[in-house]
């Protein structure tokens, strides 16, 4: 579930600034002038939380309009999960080897468990390779588009200067 790609960078920066400005103006207006410093800090905390809440309203609207769950972030998340799973399985193999060396698992159980974990880990590694290929293809496509864009704008700049 991707929640990041929902607005343009500029749009998001503007919405953050507007939310923060509104919140601080509104909340700090409610606090008294003679309040102790700690009370003013808590009022500031309330203002900050209000600005985050206002900003998140915008994010909800962007999310409802957008196509969340697509793009590089989606692949990245899946890849991260697979990587975590791989680490877990390798740790599990390490642990059963240790238990076996300490005499806590008999030979049969050790072989059974190790082969089960190995099979799972191999599956994850294959999936990671597949994921990485997709990830790389997307990254390369993005880089290519960016280079082409730069090339075109450079050409356009030359054409106008001539």
């Amino acid at each position: 579930m991707n929640t990041t790609r929902v607005s343009s960078r500029h749009g998001r920066a503007v919405s953050v600034l507007v939310a923060a400005g509104l919140a601080f103006f509104f909340v700090l207006g409610l606090s008294g002038q003679d309040d102790p410093l700690l009370a003013r800090l808590f009022a500031g905390m309330a203002a900050m939380a209000t600005s985050i809440a206002i900003f998140l309203v915008g994010e909800v609207l962007f999310a409802l309009r957008g196509k969340a769950g697509e793009g590089l972030m989606g692949s990245f998340m899946e890849r991260e999960l697979l990587a975590q799973e791989k680490t877990r399985l390798l740790t599990a193999i390490k642990e059963i080897d240790f238990d076996h060396a300490m005499g806590k698992i008999n030979d049969k159980d050790h072989l059974d468990l190790r082969s089960r974990y190995e099979a799972q880990a191999l599956e994850i590694i294959s999936l990671l390779d597949r994921e990485e290929a997709i990830f790389r293809k997307e990254a390369e496509a993005l880089a290519r588009a960016r280079i082409e864009g730069l090339y075109k704008s450079e050409e356009a700049r030359r054409a106008t200067s001539q």
Partner: protein, 695 residues
């Protein structure tokens, strides 16, 4: 500011309801944008509740007595630290604090696990439903922002004097965080059943969150003990008070879960059992709150009583019906693929440990509620005192201590006789040695239980020592490291295992401390100035009684010179009583001299202002410091166990996956390479010829 706090609560009710529904509908109808929006709404709930909490803190610190809660729990004379702690010092504030931490904890858990797309929508729905319950309670039954209809009073009524204690400033929030910690495993457990993903994923996701919750529950219980020891002048730190018991209930089930989860991870067993344990742990947090706030039992926490108990009872029944209903509906999915092979196995030892922990929890629940139940059912209130609890809990606790030693020694699957002899010999010998040495030192005076405790303590220490020694041996066989480096490497690479052993060591120290109760001495005496009294190895001389005071309290302090029996001056103790003028409520300030051997505990019970004769309660509490040292070890061990894996374990997968494949390496060789990269435990393993070569 109170209007903003109230408005934020209203908005958080809308947001939490929409969030839960949006993620479920979005997930079921395959609308990722709606699902994403639902999740963002969950973060927004955290922000909105933070606004409410900040407003409450602002109102408390700025002394806005137009708000009833601020009036009822603060006054102008209170130090700022107690103004802040007044947030959780009363009913409404503590519920808002609970909601605040729950919303932040939920947002964090959802953010960290957002990649688990099958579980998160359902987990979010459960967490948002819990949040919505608390918001409803705050809006309609215990509103912290309600104001006086007339003008604002010029000063408040002040915080309960018993709560104006440094331990009490931190004990309630740690308990609440511990309680809230049980909500995340509960939510992910239910999500696993609802989504049908009942493999080990949810257990793995929850383990660290559960451990954090367990750490805070432990801390809360420890701080509560410290508070009771110093503030309530009981002479002890634990009396099986109903609210102490209420805090212990989820701790017991959560401890059971943290052990049984290993069986599911390793052997795929105990699936239903683990689900039951997370449900029970969550339910017991609600039971605890119900007991504390309903007034159903007499307790030291009577200041928290109110009429909102029945809301918690309703929520408890609803949660249990939904959870166990779901378990019943998904019974097939929760069937374990393998069975227990032998009673001589770690699985069986862990199972036994679980049964005892659960038995203790239900015994505590029934015994705690027994006075109320007998009142309702028999028309006569039958009280259940400390000796009754001790009669059952002490032997059960000692069996648990025994299992703490057995668990790590015994093998998975089926242990052979040779292995049992090899593993148990040294720890058992140490246990016997401990029993002989402590008996020779006079421990038999305390009866059977203390000597059994020391024998078992020796056995568990032997187990831990042997495990560490053998671990170092195995590691050094493969890495040629020095002894300290091998020890450090062992702990760093096996944080969960060795953090667990540190926790076990802490538990052993606590048991040693608890055994001191068998040797407790107590005296109640009256002394005139200059008179002396002897207790244990101390000689106390009453010097004088001083009266001091301030605008808000009067203090009476007795000065007692403490010498040893040889006449050497050790210290001066100053037991006191404070009278808070506004509430007319007296509190006792106990004077304690702590040492490794025992605590001298002096309570000023009363005085005659004319003759300055004082009434004192003198107690010798042997070995108490070991309870606190054990508690510290428990905290350190939990931090080690919960500490995230280092860089070695989070190495970028690119090093060993895709790029390597391009170099024509097979996946099999990669696996061996990555496993070996952990640099240990390769020896003597039939599944690992490389290690076998080394040996």
């Amino acid at each position: 500011m109170h209007e903003l706090g109230h408005l934020s609560l209203l908005l958080s009710l809308v947001a939490s309801s929409c969030s839960g529904m949006a993620t479920i509908v979005g997930h079921q109808r395959r609308l990722p944008s709606l699902e994403s929006a639902g999740l963002i709404l969950a973060y927004m709930v955290a922000a909105l509740v933070t606004v409410s909490a900040s407003c409450m803190l602002y109102l408390l610190v700025s002394g806005d007595f137009s708000v009833k809660y601020v009036y009822q729990h603060t006054d102008l004379s209170m130090p700022v630290v107690y103004l802040v702690s007044a947030f959780w010092g009363g009913q409404e504030g503590s519920l808002l604090f609970w909601l605040w931490v729950l919303s932040l904890y939920s947002a964090l858990a959802l953010w960290v696990n957002r990649g688990h797309t099958r579980l998160v929508p359902y987990a979010n729905a459960v967490l948002m439903a819990t949040i919505a319950f608390f918001v409803l309670l705050l809006l309609f039954a215990a509103n912290p922002f309600s104001t006086w209809i007339g003008g604002a009073p010029s000063d408040g009524a002040g915080l309960n004097p018993m709560l104006q204690n440094p331990y009490m400033a931190v004990h309630p929030p740690t308990m609440y965080i511990g309680y809230i910690g049980m909500a995340v495993p509960f939510a992910f457990g239910l999500a696993a059943m609802a989504s049908g993903q009942t493999d080990e994923t949810w257990v793995r996701l929850c383990r660290r969150w559960t451990l954090v919750g367990w750490l805070f529950l432990s801390l809360g219980l420890i701080l509560g003990k410290l508070w009771a020891y110093e503030e309530l002048a009981w002479g002890g730190y634990w009396t099986w008070d109903p609210v102490e018991n209420a805090g212990l209930l989820p701790w017991l089930t959560c401890t059971a879960f943290l052990h049984s989860v290993m069986i599911q991870e390793r052997r795929g067993m105990f699936k239903r059992w683990n689900m039951t344990l997370v449900i029970l742990s969550f339910a017991f947090t609600i039971v605890g709150t119900f007991i504390t706030r309903s007034g159903i039992v007499q307790s030291v926490h009577s200041f928290a009583q109110s009429d909102i108990g029945h809301f918690f009872l309703g929520f408890l029944v609803f949660s249990l019906v939904v959870s166990f209903g779901l378990m019943w509906a998904k019974a097939d999915k929760l069937r374990s693929p393998s069975n227990m092979e032998s009673m001589l196995s770690r699985e069986f030892a862990f199972g036994l440990n679980n049964w005892i922990l659960i038995g203790m929890a239900f015994f505590l629940l029934l015994a705690t509620l027994f006075p109320s139940l007998s009142d309702h059912l028999l028309g006569e209130q039958i009280s259940v005192g400390e000796p009754f609890f001790n009669e059952w809990m002490v032997p059960l606790g000692l069996i648990l201590l025994l299992l703490t030693g057995i668990g790590p020694l015994i093998a998975w699957g089926k242990a052979s006789r040779d292995s049992l002899t090899r593993q148990f010999f040294w720890p058992a010998l140490l246990g016997v040695a401990f029993a002989i040495v402590t008996a020779a030192a006079g421990a038999l005076k305390g009866g059977l239980w203390p000597i059994t405790t020391y024998a078992l303590a020796g056995f568990v220490i032997g187990t831990i020592g042997q495990e560490v020694a053998r671990g170092i041996q195995v590691r050094r066989r493969n890495t040629d490291e020095s002894l300290p480096a091998a020890f450090l490497g062992l702990v760093i690479r096996g944080k969960r295992r060795y953090g667990g052993y540190v926790i076990h060591l802490g538990i052993v120290l606590m048991f040693i401390g608890w055994s001191g109760n068998a040797f407790q001495e107590e005296k109640e005496v009256s002394l005139l100035p200059g008179a002396s009294e002897r207790i244990g190895r101390f000689d106390l001389t009453y010097k004088d009684l001083r009266f001091t005071g301030s605008d808000h309290r009067e203090e009476a302090t007795a000065r007692m010179a403490v010498k040893n029996l040889g006449g050497r001056m050790l210290t001066t103790l100053e037991p006191a009583r404070w009278l808070f003028l506004k509430s007319k409520q007296p509190t006792t300030k106990v004077a304690i001299r702590t040492s490794i051997r025992d605590d001298l505990y002096v309570v000023l019970a009363g005085w005659d202002p004319d003759s300055e004769e004082i009434a004192l309660r003198l107690v010798i509490n042997p070995l108490v410091i070991w309870v606190w040292l054990g508690s510290l070890m428990l905290v350190i061990g939990t931090v080690i166990a919960v500490w995230p894996e280092g860089r070695h374990a989070r190495r970028s997968p690119s090093k060993t996956s895709g790029l390597a494949i391009e170099e024509d390496k097979t996946a099999k060789s990669l696996l061996d390479e990555d496993s070996a990269a952990y640099g240990e435990h390769e020896a003597a393993s039939p599944g690992n010829p490389k290690g076998a070569d080394k040996t």
